[in-house]
Amino acid sequence: MDTPLRDQIATAIADNPTILFMKGTPEQPMCGFSARTVAALQALDVRFAAVDILPDPRIRQELSALSNWPTIPQLFVDGELVGGCDIVMEMYETGELAELLGVDTDGPPVQAPEASPAAGGPAPLSIENRLS
């Protein structure tokens, strides 16, 4: 039996410490807001899962219903909605994003762990873990 899409999205959010729902992919963002959000995460050298919401309009519908947030992109850290592009960019500029993600911006780049957080688990929604 198929897991309802909303449950799959909730599971993806729970299973990935940092997950970005976006238009397009980190390599090929299809929207300026998504592109800016990816750039902020990449500038902090953090590992994040990315979900392209474009292939199926139901992903966006179910995601927004779940998060009570109408726009894309949406960044979740440790299961909590951080915000969209505006909030992520504000927090990037103030240093709050680095703090939230545990990035030491004064020291050498944080070494990402070798093991994918979702390793061995299901890969719902074509989620890929990306290392910038």
């Binding site: 966006r60 726009t71 894309i72 909605l81 951080v82 505006d86």
Partner: protein, 79 residues
């Protein structure tokens, strides 16, 4: 097609005492940026501030209003 004036008036009507400045980012009537100053934002985090504004437009966000970029400030933030 929504206009910057319409968005401004609707935000200011929904959040009494608020001041909203709305810009049409591309001149195409669907990508907007709003700077909203309201004492309703006092004590709220960014997520809740943005939700207060998004909720004014409901399903229009993502529909006729393709994008609404927000800056949400309290009068103290803006001072």
């Amino acid at each position: 097609m929504p206009t910057t004036d319409e968005l401004k008036l609707r935000i200011e009507a929904a959040l009494p005492g608020a001041r909203a400045d709305v810009v049409d980012l591309n001149g195409t009537g669907d990508h907007f940026q709003a700077t909203v100053i309201s004492d309703r934002f006092d004590g709220l985090g960014r997520i809740d501030r943005h939700r207060l504004v998004y909720d004014i437009f409901g399903a229009e966000i993502g529909g006729p209003i393709h994008a609404l970029s927000l800056k949400t400030l309290t009068p103290a933030d803006a001072a």
